[in-house]
Subunit: 343 residues, 2 copies
Amino acid sequence: MTKKTDIANLGEFGLIRHLTENIVLKNDSTRKGVGDDAAVLAYTGKEVLVTTDLLLEGIHFDLMYVPLKHLGYKSAVVNFSDIYAMNGRPKQITVSLGVSKRFCVEDLEDFYEGLTLACDIYGVDIVGGDTSASLTGLTISITCIGEAEKDQIVYRSGAKDTDLICVSGDLGAAYMGLQLLEREKSVYRGEADFTPDFGGKEYLLERQLKPEARKDIVESLAGAGILPTAMIDISDGLASELLHLSKESHTGCRIYEERIPIDFQTASMAEQFNMNLTTVALNGGEDYELLFTVPLALHDKAAALNGVKIIGHVTNAALGNCLVGRDGGEVGLKAQGWQDGRM
Amino acid sequence: MTKKTDIANLGEFGLIRHLTENIVLKNDSTRKGVGDDAAVLAYTGKEVLVTTDLLLEGIHFDLMYVPLKHLGYKSAVVNFSDIYAMNGRPKQITVSLGVSKRFCVEDLEDFYEGLTLACDIYGVDIVGGDTSASLTGLTISITCIGEAEKDQIVYRSGAKDTDLICVSGDLGAAYMGLQLLEREKSVYRGEADFTPDFGGKEYLLERQLKPEARKDIVESLAGAGILPTAMIDISDGLASELLHLSKESHTGCRIYEERIPIDFQTASMAEQFNMNLTTVALNGGEDYELLFTVPLALHDKAAALNGVKIIGHVTNAALGNCLVGRDGGEVGLKAQGWQDGRM
């Protein structure tokens, strides 16, 4: 039987100490981590990037099918993704947890195990930890601090007419993974009569439960000497992020349906669920891929990037934001957004 | 009748824009505020301080008697207090809100009004804003970033045997304010038969509902050329914070009951509630005063500081942490802590 230690046994300060005592600081920029009124960081000659995410049980995640270890991993990674989207490197996180009585010390250990694993892989230090009681469910608030050379920071606002629009990886898989998990949850509840079946759908589950931030793409770009003109990470769906880029850059865009990267498992699952595949890829969200623009002159360099696809180009604002279909017809992009969707 | 606009009318992005569109950035170190994947800060030659607080409805605050504007003000100020406790200056905050359906746009405007007021008074920029739906109640997560000269940062760990222990302001008032509000809440609910009466207790209410961070004390210390050896802000009660200082500094302490600063209203209220005044001052919490230690050689300078009282001295660790009573008897300090108490 699994051991379940009541959090009250440790007390608030004891719990924080227990969860953070084995942290080994990795970065030179971390001068003081957990344990004082504030963390102390030293960013000599670099600019400092700060991003924060609030994740609430029942809104952003469902513990019915998300293991706490995966949740810890994902909570960290989605923040790293925002730093990479500025062409920066994540270096520190602070973690605040609100925890209701149904959680035990071992649950939080699982969460921290995932969190720590992500931090080890991405070279990030946990510099602040805070836990508090909560009346209902689990609340997770993570702030990530990163660094970038001043002249290497990439904003959403720098896209120019004729720039190429590029996207890393493939889209829609995390959303289909969510659909799959929701279906299996219905099975579990006896609300549907499917037989649980994850065979051949491992990729979809992995994309939903254990996403990665595209550190590799940011490094490839630097290696290839490409500084994107604009960049954003795809958390709310390709369409929504394209509209953000266009709005901030005062531009428009044309992207081509046939060029949107989609994995075979995503396509097969969408067919099974009778969903429009392009809609899934445009609006699914939680892909944590990078969407960026590069000057047309860098076409060959961009085309040669591993795991990156050119899906369209930037236009002037008057032309609007359109998807060019396989038949050549154009439809306006809308941020359908799964409002208040998952992480 | 007060106007109540449904948050769904604006949508998530519309709401953030609405709440943050009038922000004017004040600090040179703020390069990019709300509106990209991350905020961009430039801290040339200074070290960066980061602190974060998670505030949950029903645990840290009760909207039955805390107006949202006050809550916004207090949420910001408690974070500033942590930065001052490092001898730093707060410069930026990010704000994440989880909001249930019972809140309307005007509620969040009230919250932001208080938040913005605090930021204006303390010279802080709001650089990140995020709102999300929540299943129950209001969740507030604020991260504050500040700066300090490298050789001016004061940790909890620097106290030395024979150092003087100093505290700013007075203690226990915020806790008595809370007791008063809780009593009036009982009245309102018909659970008690007191007549609501706040006359002559304004200071207690102010300390609970609209606390200030001790920017002035940090400035006085700098002005007097005093660099404390250790410092912490008093959020969980004097006793608890003294134990933190002693633990981190590997020291002990003696503080004198008769020297603990207490306001007349606090004393009179404690008597009315039949509570032990010293216990209130030691364990009440939410004072947001600064507790710091200075070398004995600086006695005269410290004694001359306005609004600061010397309450005891640091000892070696073997002597433990004691309160010396009015009768000269010693009792060990315990972090009684109102576990999971208010902010």
